[in-house]
Amino acid sequence: MDTTAIGGCAPEAAICARGIVREFVAGQSTIRVLHGIDTDIRSGELTYVVGESGSGKTTLISIMCGILWPTMGEVKVFGTDIYGLSDSDLVNFRLNNIGFIFQQYNLIPSIDAAANAAVPLIAQGVPLDEARARAKVLLDKLNIGDQADKLPNQLSGGQQQRVAIARALVHEPRLVVCDEPTAALDARSGRRVMDLLREVAVAPDRACIIVTHDNRIFDLADRIIVLEDGRITHDGKEMPDDH
C-alpha cells in the first residue's frame, strides 16, 4: 500500500485528487467530463460537491470513492493510491474504508432493516447474528431500532433512508459518500437528514462527501466545492453569490 504523498497533497487529507480527467466515449466522439480536477477532502468536515446536472459531480465522486477509473490523474484515499491497487484489493479497500448512501437507497427488499444495515459487515465475513446485532445498535442510534425487523417496503421513505445511513456507517468506514440524500425529501425532512448525517457521519477521523444540487441545505455544509462543466469554479465555506 502506497502511503507517500502526491505533489501538493496535505498529509492529513482524507482524499487527495490530482489532475483528474475523465472522458467518456459516445459513438465516434469523446466527451471530457472532468478537466484536471485537483482537490483535497479533509476529515471532520461535511463537504458538499454541488453543481448543475451534467457538471461532473457524480463522476468526480465516483472516481474519489474508487468505483470509476479516471482517464488520467491520481486519487489517494487515506494515503492509498486506490487506482494503483489490484481490482480485488480495490474492492476490499472500498468494503473496509468507504460507506455509501445512494439516492434511491438500494435496500434489498426481501431482508429486514437490520440485515440491510448489516450488509457491509456480512460482506466482510462477520457472522450474521453478530452483524445484525451491531446494525441494531446503529439503528437504535438513528431512532429506528423498533423497525429493525421490518422489510423495506414496510418502512416510510425517511425510515428507509435511515437504514441506508446505518448501512453506510455500520462498518465504521473512514469515508462516507452520499449521493443526493435529500433529493426526494421536502425541505424539513431534508434538513433533518442532514442534521442526522452531521451527527452520526461526521467525525474527526472520518470524511463525509455529499453530492447535491439541493440549495435548501447549502447552509449546513462545512465546505462547498462547486463544479461547472467539469471544472472546480468555487471552493469555500459558503456558496458564491451568483449561485
Binding site: N96, F100, F102, N106, I111, P120, R167
Partner: protein
C-alpha cells in the same frame, strides 16, 4: 452473503415459484418421459423376462424377438438336447388366436404353450391360483391384462369359459406376468394343448428354451448350439436386448420420446431463463449497490450460483417426486405394471437441470458482472 442471496430469491415469491415450476416441470417431463420410454422398450423383452428359467433361447435364424419369429420343425428340440453343455431343453409355442368370451366379446390373444412336464416357460409367480391347474382339462392361465380387458371390475375370471379358436378353454388361474409391448392379452397353456388351440403349418415350434450344465457358460453353450445345429441361439440377456433393439429400430418411439424430452429441456430453459433474467434485472440496482459497497464479482457469482442451486435442488426434487407419484399412481394399471425408474434416469435429468441452470444462470449473471458499480450513482 449466500444467506442474502437466498433471501433475495425467496423474497420475490412470484419469480421464486416461477423458477421452481420451470425446473420441476422440466424435471418431471424429462424423468417421466424417459422412464416411460425405458419401461416401454423393455416390454420388447417381456417374453424373455416372463420365462425366467430359460438360460438360452434357440430359434430359427430369421427370428428376432419373442413376437417376431419363424417356426422350426419339432426335430430342433432333439438337436438342441444333443449339444454338449445343454442340461435340459423344452419347447415353447407362441401364436396368436381369437377368443370369444362368455359375454360375446371378441379379443385377439397371444397363446403361449409351455412344456407339458416341467411347465418351464410360465411366469415365476401366479397372481391367482396355482401353476398345477394346467393339468386340468382345457385349462389356460390368463395374465392381468386379460383380466382387465376381458372382464368387468370385480368379476372373477377363474372358472370362466372361453371359446378359443372354436375350442373350449377354461381359465384356471391368473399369471403374474409383465405385459407385452402391445399389451395384448396372453393365455398360457401346455404345449400339447396349444398345438390344438392354434392350428397352423407343418412347423409349429417357436422356441426351444434351454438350461446349461452346472459350470458351463451360457454364452459358450449358445455358440455351440448355433455351430452344431445351424439354429440361432442367444443367451437370456442377449435375446432380451434383441427384443429391445427391435423396438428401437422399428418404431418411432425413440424419436417421439426424444422430442418430448428435448421439449422438456427447451421449456425448462425458456421458463427458467426468462424468470431468472427478470429476477436479475429487477435486482440489478441491489447487485450494483453490493458491488459498490465492496462485494467482489466472485462473491456475486457465488450468490447467483446459490440461488440457482436452491431452485435447482427444490425444483428437481419436486420433479422427481412427481414422476415417482405418477409411476406409483399408475402401478395398479396392468399396462404400467412393473414400471420402475432406473437409477440412471434421475441422474440424466439432474444433468439436464444443471445444464439448464448453468445456461440460464450464466446468461443472467453476465448482466450483473457487466454492471459497473458507478451505475448506482446514475
Amino acid at each position: 452473503m449466500l444467506w442474502i442471496a437466498i433471501r433475495m430469491l425467496t423474497g420475490d415469491a412470484q419469480k421464486f415459484y416461477g423458477l421452481l415450476f420451470g425446473i420441476a416441470f422440466s424435471t418431471l417431463l424429462i424423468t417421466q418421459q424417459l422412464t416411460i420410454f425405458v419401461n416401454l422398450i423393455e416390454r420388447g423383452a417381456s417374453g424373455v423376462f416372463n420365462s425366467p428359467n430359460a438360460q438360452i433361447w434357440v430359434m430359427d435364424p430369421v427370428s428376432r424377438t419373442t413376437e417376431v419369429k419363424y417356426e422350426m420343425p419339432s426335430t430342433a428340440l432333439d438337436e438342441v438336447r444333443s449339444v454338449p453343455g445343454v442340461e435340459w431343453a423344452v419347447p415353447q409355442l407362441r401364436a396368436t388366436a381369437a377368443v370369444r368370451t362368455s359375454t360375446g366379446d371378441l379379443e385377439g390373444v397371444s397363446v403361449i404353450g409351455v412344456d407339458d412336464a416341467t411347465l418351464i416357460g410360465l411366469p415365476r409367480n401366479m397372481a391367482k391360483g396355482s401353476r398345477d391347474v394346467l393339468s386340468e382339462p382345457d385349462a389356460v392361465l390368463i395374465d392381468d391384462v386379460g383380466v382387465t380387458n376381458m372382464f368387468q371390475p370385480g368379476e372373477d375370471p377363474v372358472g370362466q369359459r372361453l371359446e378359443l379358436n372354436d375350442q373350449r378353454a377354461v381359465i384356471r388361474g391368473v399369471a403374474d406376468s409383465i405385459p407385452s409391448f402391445t399389451s395384448q392379452v396372453t393365455l398360457y397353456t401346455k404345449y400339447s394343448r396349444a398345438l390344438n388351440y392354434v392350428p397352423g403349418t407343418r412347423n409349429r415350434l417357436s422356441f426351444v428354451l434351454a438350461g446349461v450344465s452346472p459350470g458351463a457358460d451360457p454364452k459358450e453353450v449358445a455358440q455351440r448350439i448355433t455351430r452344431q445345429t445351424g439354429l440361432k441361439a442367444l443367451t437370456r440377456d442377449a435375446f432380451a436386448q434383441s427384443g429391445i433393439d427391435f423396438i428401437i429400430q422399428n418404431t418411432g418411439i425413440p424419436t417421439n420420446f426424444g422430442i418430448t424430452v428435448f421439449l422438456g429441456f427447451v421449456v425448462g430453459v425458456a421458463i427458467v431463463g426468462l424468470t431468472f433474467s427478470l429476477f436479475i434485472r429487477d435486482n440489478i440496482k441491489q447487485f450494483g449497490a453490493l458491488k459498490a459497497i465492496g462485494v467482489t464479482n466472485a462473491k456475486i457469482v457465488r450468490m447467483v450460483a446459490a440461488q440457482a442451486g436452491l431452485v435447482g435442488a427444490i425444483g428437481y426434487a419436486l420433479g422427481v417426486m412427481g414422476t415417482v407419484l405418477f409411476i406409483w399412481g399408475f402401478s395398479g394399471v396392468p399396462q404400467f405394471k412393473g414400471f420402475y425408474i432406473p437409477w440412471q434416469i434421475p441422474l440424466i435429468s439432474l444433468g439436464a437441470v444443471a445444464l439448464i441452470l448453468a445456461l440460464t444462470g450464466w446468461t443472467a449473471l453476465r448482466s450483473v458482472l457487466r454492471t459497473e458499480p458507478a451505475a448506482v450513482f446514475r
